[in-house]
């Protein structure tokens, strides 16, 4: 995998964001990200096929048939094959996996993979309606106005009851602080311009179920974002064709995909069991253990999901994720830095692009291209991991990466 590019994650928090003014649409984001990658890989002529990940432009932008935007990005992509994939918030990583499968099947040597979502076309309250499609439609009526915050608020509530509310709230606040501090180092992050002085105090604000959900405050949540991320997935042959040295690429060591029944409630609200399964499988397929990981990009659509991910991956025992986070192990100078460009809460969550953005962050870190966000990669622990989740722990993709040799 090479040549990643992220647009800005646009939305509230960015100085240039004004909800009343016209903003770039899907086309502009796709063009920016797509052309940037093409420029790095020697142009459209080197591309065999395209994959575009998009969750629900059919509602946000009244747009489907997304594959046909590749020729719009570059005329050189006319008549080349492309496909759009969808798996709610796991869409981005599904796009990656679709590209990886083409390479493994040897039907392509260079796949241009993109994720895009433009969600600020409607207010958050209507955004919640659209995003609710990631859950089971039959449950929408009884769900919360803010549907997914409601789902994870329910999880947080059970977690509070089992493992202590006070400490959990502190850990959620800490998660938020880490996210913003990392985002402040990354110019494309939605929270790059965040200047709040006392982040922890914001994170500690008591949730108010009258206006929002019972057990999460707004700082526990990723925001509404617009953005696109694109990357090239290439075989060794493809890498040569693009004229890029191996040192600038990461190798996909293994991946796993897993689905859970969308009509069923979780067995245990405090466990992300599908995440756990997918990560174990991805590590197994790669022949490594979690101890060999240098950094992780996890799916922190909500702070509580980030905390539960530390448990699902196995860094902390059940109920001890809060201690793990509070002890600073997931911070950028901690034992295992999580979400080094801010994650979904700090960098942003343009749903269909998120999985691709996660992969690009890992690619940047492992190839030494992470700029101010760069962390130290220890030679004994050279691997990166991404975890991309669709719905409430329903569609999972986990991928393991290592710098190419």
């Amino acid at each position: 995998m090479v040549a990643g590019y992220n647009t800005i994650s646009m939305g509230t928090g960015r100085k240039e964001f004004n909800p009343k003014k016209e903003r770039p649409g899907l086309e502009e984001y796709m063009k920016e990200a797509g052309q940037a990658v093409l420029a790095k890989i020697g142009g459209a002529k080197n591309v065999d096929e395209g994959v575009i990940g998009n969750f629900i432009a059919s509602r946000f932008n009244r747009q489907a048939n997304m594959g046909a935007f590749f020729p719009y990005i570059d005329e050189g992509l006319r008549h080349k094959p492309a496909v759009r994939v969808e798996g709610a918030c796991a869409t981005g990583a599904l796009a990656l996996v679709t590209g990886i499968r083409s390479i493994l099947a040897e039907t392509a040597d260079v796949v241009l993979v993109m994720g895009v979502e433009v969600q600020n076309t409607v207010k958050a309250i209507y955004c919640a309606d659209y995003l609710a499609a990631a859950g089971w439609a039959n449950e929408r009526k009884d769900g919360h106005a803010y549907y997914f915050p409601g789902k994870f608020s329910d999880r947080a509530k059970v977690y509070y009851e089992k493992f202590g509310k006070e400490k959990t709230r502190m850990a959620m606040a800490k998660w938020f602080v880490n996210a913003i501090e990392n985002a402040r180092l990354c110019p494309t992050a939605q929270e790059y311009h965040n200047t709040s002085k006392d982040l922890n105090a914001l994170g500690m604000i008591e949730p108010n179920g009258r206006n929002f959900v019972d057990s999460l405050n707004v700082f526990d949540c990723s925001k509404v974002s617009d953005g696109a991320s694109a990357v090239a997935i290439v075989s060794e042959e493809g890498l040569k064709r693009c004229g890029i040295p191996k040192s600038q690429a990461v190798e996909i060591m293994g991946f796993a995909q897993a689905e859970e029944d969308i009509t069923k409630a979780p067995d245990d609200f405090t466990v992300l069991s599908t995440t756990k399964f997918a990560v174990q499988k991805a590590l197994e397929n790669s022949g490594i253990t979690k101890e060999q990981l240098a950094t992780v990009e996890c799916h922190d659509c909500f702070s509580i999901a980030g905390i539960m991910a530390t448990e699902a991956i196995g860094f902390a025992e059940h109920g001890k994720g809060i201690d793990f986070v509070l002890e600073g192990h997931t911070a950028r100078y901690g034992k295992i830095p999580f979400n080094t460009t801010g994650g979904l809460i700090g960098w942003g969550h343009p749903t269909g692009a998120t999985g691709v953005h996660q992969a690009i962050t890992i690619w940047e870190q492992l190839t030494g291209n992470a700029g101010n966000n760069q962390i130290e990669i220890h030679p004994e622990r050279p691997y990166g991991l991404t975890v991309n989740m669709g719905g409430d722990d329903k569609s999972l993709v986990s991928i393991v990466y290592k710098r190419a040799e």
Binding site: K123, I125, D129, R140, K141, A145, N211
Partner: protein
């Protein structure tokens, strides 16, 4: 008659006006809330929006729809519960649209006064004219067999006078919303001596349900809000006229406006506030209040002159500011009217000279935005002490202005217009967005 019964048939007079439209909106939302309670299913509720102009009523309905949409978007969490049994309403957007429909169905726009004859509660927000108000009240009262209650939004006319003139036998109460009613937290409630206690009880409950801050005022022309504002405005005008002996008219207005805003840390300068309310409205309110004042003359020749020339201030129907003492671009003052030259002078051309004449600003000065709504008493003490210790032209005028505002306020309490110092401070803080109450010891 219970609270709910009273709200079954309500009329708002002057519904398309600036104040009336806000009162209509708040009343519609409150009636919707009541009508959606399970025990009230099947009961009909009617809210008549009465105004003289059909065109204005069309604009009003658009405004109300937009405002109800905003309100619905804010409380959709609660609305999902209210519509829980409606299987056909699934998404937030569907629930919000249904709520808008339900609220709009309560409202009946009309130019016909007869629709009020079945109402049990009348909100009045027509022109500030005691005779006109009394005439309409009496007409409704004679034709309405329900002995309706009259809530007047007058900001200056004594309630007892309206009661007497219209023959309402105590069925009238001052319920003075501030502009714009949908946003402003303050409601002044004014009982005449004759007002029946149940009107007050209802109004207090109603205002609380709207989450308003209630300040009771004695029934004296102008009450607390205008009692302070009109005198404060006249003081500002007289200070500008004093300066006018040495400076041009535009310069004088600029300097007093700046002192009353920046030096006193208020949200806007006194001349901008007069423009906001309207020079015509200010002048009219003074003329309504003046006959009741024995020891002062509440009148300004300058305002009369401006009105003769046609300089009026006030707002356009879209809420944007009309030119008055100041000229506005995108809501910001850019020029000052010079009554002698009969034209606007750019602020940029006179600001430098004025600022240097006023002298240095106190070092610890902060903009209103930075202090409003925060507990800053220690800061005000140190700031106003610094201000008082400086001997520039600007600070000296500011000190006098500050003391005058305090004296006006204390007199309102002494004259038994306000019940307490705290009430005056609350009115200035909530009704006029002042950062601090005028009755304080910051300069002692």
């Amino acid at each position: 008659m219970s609270y709910t019964e009273r709200l079954k048939n309500v009329s708002v007079l002057g519904a398309a006006g600036k104040m009336g439209s806000g009162i209509l909106l708040l009343t519609a939302l409150e009636m919707a809330e009541i009508s959606m309670k399970p025990e009230n299913k099947g009961t009909s509720f009617v809210l008549n929006a009465v105004d003289v102009s059909n065109e204005a009523l069309v604009g009003l309905m658009k405004y109300i729809r937009n405002q109800v949409l905003k309100a619905a978007e804010k409380k959709v969490v609660q609305l999902r519960t209210i519509y829980a049994d409606r299987a056909d309403l699934i998404e937030n957007s569907e629930i919000i649209n249904q709520y808008i429909d339900d609220v709009m169905l309560l409202i009946r726009p009309s130019t016909n006064m007869e629709v009020t004859y079945n109402s049990t509660l009348i909100f009045e927000a027509i022109k500030e004219d005691p005779d006109l108000k009394a005439k309409i009240f009496s007409q409704i009262n004679e034709n309405n067999s329900y002995h309706p209650w009259f809530f007047t939004n007058t900001s200056s006319i004594p309630i007892s006078e309206l009661d007497k003139k219209a023959g309402l036998n105590g069925r009238v109460l001052g319920v003075h919303f501030y502009n714009p009613p949908a946003v402003q937290k303050l409601v002044e409630i004014i009982k005449a001596e004759t007002t029946l206690p149940e009107l007050n009880e209802f109004a207090v409950q109603f205002s609380k349900n709207l989450r308003k801050t209630i300040v009771p005022s004695h029934d004296f022309a102008g009450f607390i809000g205008n009692g302070h504002f009109m005198r404060d405005a006249l003081y500002g005008i007289s200070e500008a006229e004093k300066l006018n002996k040495e400076f041009s008219f535009a310069e004088s207005v600029f300097m007093i406006n700046k002192i009353s805003q920046d030096y006193l840390i208020r949200p806007m300068g006194i001349f901008q506030l007069i423009d906001y309310v309207g020079i015509d409205v200010c002048s009219y309110i003074m003329s309504v209040m003046n006959p009741y004042l024995t020891d002062e003359d509440l009148h300004s020749n300058l305002l009369d002159k401006l009105l003769e020339i046609g300089v009026k201030g006030g707002q356009n129907s879209d809420g944007s500011q009309k030119d008055g003492f100041l000229k506005y671009e995108k809501g910001k003052p850019v020029a000052i009217y010079d009554i002698n030259l009969k034209s606007y002078i750019d602020i940029a051309s006179l600001q430098g000279n004025c600022d240097s004449k006023l002298g240095e600003l106190p070092a610890s000065i902060k903009p209103w935005k930075a202090v409003v709504g925060k507990p800053m008493d220690e800061y005000y003490k140190s700031y106003f002490t610094e201000l008082k210790g400086m001997k520039t032209m600007g600070t000296e005028i500011a000190v006098n202005y500050f003391m005058r505002s305090k004296a006006i306020s204390e007199k309102l309490v002494a004259d038994k217009v306000a019940f307490s110092n705290e009430d005056v401070n609350t009115v200035l803080k909530t009704g006029f967005f002042h950062a601090y109450g005028p009755i304080n010891d910051f300069m002692n």
